[in-house]
Every structure is written in structure tokens, then in C-alpha cells.
């Protein structure tokens, strides 16, 4: 069971992959989506950096080396060292692991829970839908930073709690978008047909409705990854996120950015560049995904 948009997307991919040399396909994509392919390049680079971090860098990202404290960038330490003598480039490379892990986990859990809840809300309708919508309203209006602060105060800091804090606000955002799509799908006759066949509610939701709201789900999912990376950086910067000595970009800024901004600007500059580039890349990539999947937005 596929929607027309999926058929069109598949046709587009087939057209692209039509037995042509790999590079000409890449070139075609780059021409159609120049910003998107740039973003994809950054995403690939990040995955590459986190996969081969141990090979890429000769230094330990966590061990202090006080003999090299706050060394300016030179040939030995390309981006300089921080206040504990750790190589900044190494910590940025390893930091990509933290960012990707938090980004993907939070985005995936948040979007998936939102997907199931959104579809269920649309499917059941009535009072369930009304109550569910009010709960989503509360979560949407609730300040994110307070939620994060509360989660961290209750469970303590650390990566898994950062993921919880970031995931919660994603759920209502995804649920709302998915719900509006699912409301339209519920009216299509094949749902009635499935009901007439005596399928269970769970089966209709999971097998008949969920696959048909994949487009908004994927759009939200890709958009969430960048947001999650940015949120993790902000929380870590406030001291509420990932804790030392784990290399994380936001945390690197918390350590010394303001203190050393005059005397050792490299400590403050590079982690921020890494965050910005990563989020930039994921957002560009997400936009390209949206343009491809959403037939309404696609330009001719």
C-alpha cells in the first residue's frame, strides 16, 4: 500500500539510478539539490569522523596533559589544546560520536513515539483524541529548559538523561503533524475495508495507517536530528548535559569558552564551528528530504 507521493519518489529514484555511472548520479543529485548534497556531505563526514576517530587522531580525548595546557594551534596540535592540555581537534572528532548518538537516539525515539501516538489519536478519535490533544498542548507550551532542568535534577546528569530531556518535547511536535495526516487517511475506504475484514485496531494502525504517514514522519525525523544536536550542546553548555571528561561540543564550550575567550580564543571558536556545521548539515539534508517527500512543496 503506497501513497502517490511515495510512488513519485520511487520513480524519481529509479530515474536517478537508471544504470548510470555512480558519479553521474551523484552529479545529478548535486545539481538538483545543491544545498542538500552539501548537507549530506557534512553528515557523511561526521559519520566518517566518529567511525574512524581512533585512527584519525593520535591523542587521547580524555586524558589530561598539563605540559601542553592552552597551546595555541601549531603543527603538533592543529587546533590548539584546552585548559587541561587535551588536543581540541581530537575532542571535536570524538565529540561527533556523542553528537550523533544523542542526535539519532533522541530524534528516533521522539519521532517514533510521536508517530504511534499521533496515528492512534487520529484512529480512535472522540474523547481519546481530545484528551490526548490537551496533553500534547501542555507539553508544547511547557518551557523545554525547565523540563530538562527537572529531568536532570531528578535523575542526575549524564547522556541518557539528556536524551530523555530532549526526546520529550519532540513527541508532541511529531504527533501533531502525523495526526493531521492520519486524520485524512482514516477516511479512505481501505481502512473501512480492513475493519470489515475484522482486523484488530493494533493491526490497522501498525500495518495500514503507519506506513502511509511515513513521509511526514521522515521529514520530522531528519529535522529532529539537527535540533537534538543543538539542544544537547545547549544543555551541556549550561552544565546540565553530558559531563566531563566525555568529549562533547557543548561541554567544550562550557569549560573555558568565556574565561579564555581573550587569552585563548581557539578554545571557544572550534567547538562552536563544529556544532554549527553539524546542525547546518543535518538541516540542509532534512530540507532536501522534505522537498523530495512533500509533493506540495516540491517545485514543479
Amino acid at each position: 500500500m503506497v501513497t502517490t507521493s511515495e510512488v513519485r519518489v520511487e520513480a524519481q529514484f529509479e530515474e536517478l539510478a537508471d544504470k548510470r555511472p555512480f558519479w553521474s548520479v551523484v552529479g545529478e543529485f548535486a545539481r538538483k539539490q545543491p544545498l542538500g548534497s552539501f548537507g549530506m556531505g557534512i553528515v557523511v563526514l561526521m559519520i566518517f569522523a566518529s567511525a574512524f576517530a581512533t585512527i584519525l587522531s593520535p591523542y587521547d580525548p580524555e586524558a589530561n596533559a598539563f605540559e601542553h595546557m592552552l597551546t595555541p594551534p601549531n603543527l603538533q596540535f592543529l587546533l590548539g589544546t584546552d585548559q587541561f592540555g587535551r588536543d581540541i581537534l581530537t575532542r571535536i572528532i570524538y565529540g561527533a560520536r556523542t553528537a550523533l548518538f544523542v542526535g539519532f537516539t533522541a530524534a528516533f525515539i521522539g519521532a517514533t513515539v510521536g508517530l504511534v501516538l499521533g496515528v492512534a489519536s487520529a484512529f480512535f478519535g472522540g474523547r481519546f483524541d481530545l484528551i490526548f490533544q490537551r496533553i500534547m498542548d501542555v507539553l508544547m507550551a511547557f518551557p523545554l529548559i525547565i523540563l530538562a532542568l527537572a529531568v536532570v535534577s531528578i535523575f542526575g546528569t549524564g547522556i541518557q538523561n539528556v536524551i530523555i530531556a530532549i526526546t520529550i518535547p519532540f513527541i508532541p511536535r511529531c504527533a501533531r503533524v502525523v495526526r493531521s495526516q492520519a486524520l485524512a487517511i482514516r477516511e479512505i475506504p481501505y481502512i473501512d475495508a480492513a475493519r470489515a475484514n475484522g482486523f484488530s485496531n493494533a493491526r490497522i494502525i501498525m500495518r495500514h495507517m503507519v506506513p502511509n504517514v511515513m513521509a511526514p514522519f521522515l521529514i520530522m525525523l531528519t529535522a529532529f536530528v539537527g535540533q537534538a544536536i543543538l539542544l544537547e550542546a545547549s544543555l551541556s553548555y549550561l552544565g546540565l548535559g553530558v559531563q566531563e571528561p566525555i568529549p562533547a561540543w557543548g561541554l567544550m564550550l562550557q569549560g573555558g569558552a568565556e574565561e579564555y575567550v581573550e587569552s585563548a580564543p581557539w578554545v571557544a571558536i572550534w567547538p562552536g564551528v563544529a556544532i554549527s556545521l553539524a546542525v547546518f548539515g543535518f538541516n540542509l539534508f532534512g530540507d532536501a528530504v522534505r522537498d523530495t517527500l512533500d509533493p506540495k512543496l516540491r517545485s514543479q
Partner: protein, 323 residues
Amino acid sequence: MWQYILKRLLLMIPTLFGAAILIFFLLRLIPGDVCELKMAGAGLYVDQEQIDICRTNLGLEQPMIIQFWDFVSGFVTFDLGTSMWTGKAITYEIALRFELSLQVAIMATLTAVLIAIPLGTISAVRQNTWIDYFVRAFSIAGIAIPSFWLGIMIILGLLIFTQAWFGTPWMPPIEYTPIWVDPWANLSQLIWPAVATGWRYSAVATRMTRSALLEVLREDYIRTARAKGLMEKLIINRHALKNSMLPVVTVLGIEFAFLMGGLVVTEQVFNLNGLGKLFVESVLNQDFTLTQALVMLVVTIAVFTNFVVDICYAWLDPRIRYA
């Protein structure tokens, strides 16, 4: 229409009530309480008795349901009570910071509008040209760059620039001066956080302007306007832009509501004593009454903005009919 307004107003009640329940129980799940923190901060030897006295004074010994009732009835009657940490009236604590937060929010909004509308328009009119790609990249960069880091970079830039230009490094003042006392000192402090948040803010609005304008430009009445030979400038300014402003205003409204309490990180960088900082302090101090009041303030602003935006939609666009 009136029925719709009434229905929306009534729907605000469960949302606010839900937020009240959520913050009330979230806060009480946090281990420890304000009395322990206060005594620990004082660094004195404390016996259990003193902590108990403090708890009784603050009403923490009472059953949850009574505490919750006090909180909700206080909120409904606009009697926010006193801060558990400082002992001062909550309205006083908020009023102290409200001005600064409001001013930054207004300035950031102005920055955003000044950037977003021209850029979004040119991007839509020149869709899929290099200008469009540049504007899109610029606005995505605005979303991608963490505003706290942008703040640090602005400070660094100012230091380097003033060092090179005037010989002495200059930093924005740290003390807040109200704008009617000394506008120059006030602006030289607050313009930087406004720019740092304004860029991010403008990014959202630019994208909205672009997509809304693109949609309107495909409407029949634009073709009619072109067909009767109207100047392109007039078509864009008078016919298209006006009709595409609705979603842009929505985004601006929602972001403005967010700015009132959400500038925690930026305030940290620029060392501003605003509502965001008060937020963090009150949670860390386990100041239940103050945190509850602040959360309810921010949630009320958010819910109310949404309400106003929806009403404006129905008002401005006669095609929208609410059942």
C-alpha cells in the same frame, strides 16, 4: 465566530491546568528541598529541628493536595505569594527582570523582522537562483549556529575590533541601565544579545516568508494582476506580500512568546539578569513557589499567544471558517 472564541478560551483551561499539575509534581520529584539547600548554603551546623521549622513556615509539611490547592487558587486569584528562597514577593522578583527580558525580546523581534521580510521576499521572487540558495543557506545557518556561541563570538569580535581600532579593548557593560535613564548605556548592553537571538529568530521567519510568498505567487489573482500589466513591484508589495504575512505573523508571535522565558542560554553568555536566569536559579534553589509562578507565566503567555494568533487568522482571512 463568538462561539469559536469561547470554545478556544475554554480549551485554554485544561492546558493551563495540565501544566500546573506537571510542574507541581515535577518539582516535588526532585530530591532535597529549599530548606536543606538554604541551610547547606549558610554553611552552619544545622539540626533537624531547624529544618523542620523552616519547612513548616514554608508550608512544605502540609499534604500535597493542600499545597496544590494553594498553588492553583493563588494562580487563579493572581496572588502569586512569596519566593521560598528570598522571601520576597514573587511579583517583585519577576518585575525586577521583566523589563530587561521584554526589551531584549522586542529588540530581537525588530531585528528578525528587518532581516526576514526583505530576505524572504527576494528569496521567493528569485526562487532557485543563487540569491535564493544564499538566503536559504544564511537562514539555515541562523538556525544551526547556537546563539550562546554566537554571543561568545560577538564578544570576542568586539574585543579584537576595539583593540585594533581604539587601542583599548571594550566589552558591553554588565550592569543593566533602564533605557529612559541612559539610552546609550542601555543599548550598548542589550543590542548584542538582541542580535545574537535575532538572527536565529529571523531564520525561522525568513523561511516562513519565503514559503508563504511562493504559495501566494501561484494564486490566480497574481496571474490576473500580471495579465493586466501591473508593475512587478506593485504585484509583490501590494498583492502578494500582504496576503502572505499571516503565517509570518504567526511565527513571530510564537517565537516572541518563547523569547520571554527561553533566553536562558543567551542570558548566561551576556550575563544578563533576566527571566531566563531567574528560571534556572529558581529550579536549582528548589524554590517551588517561584518556579511554579514562572512556568505558569510562560505557559500562559504561550497559550494566550496561540489563541490570539488563531483568532487573528480567522479575522484576517475570511476563507477560514471555524465550526
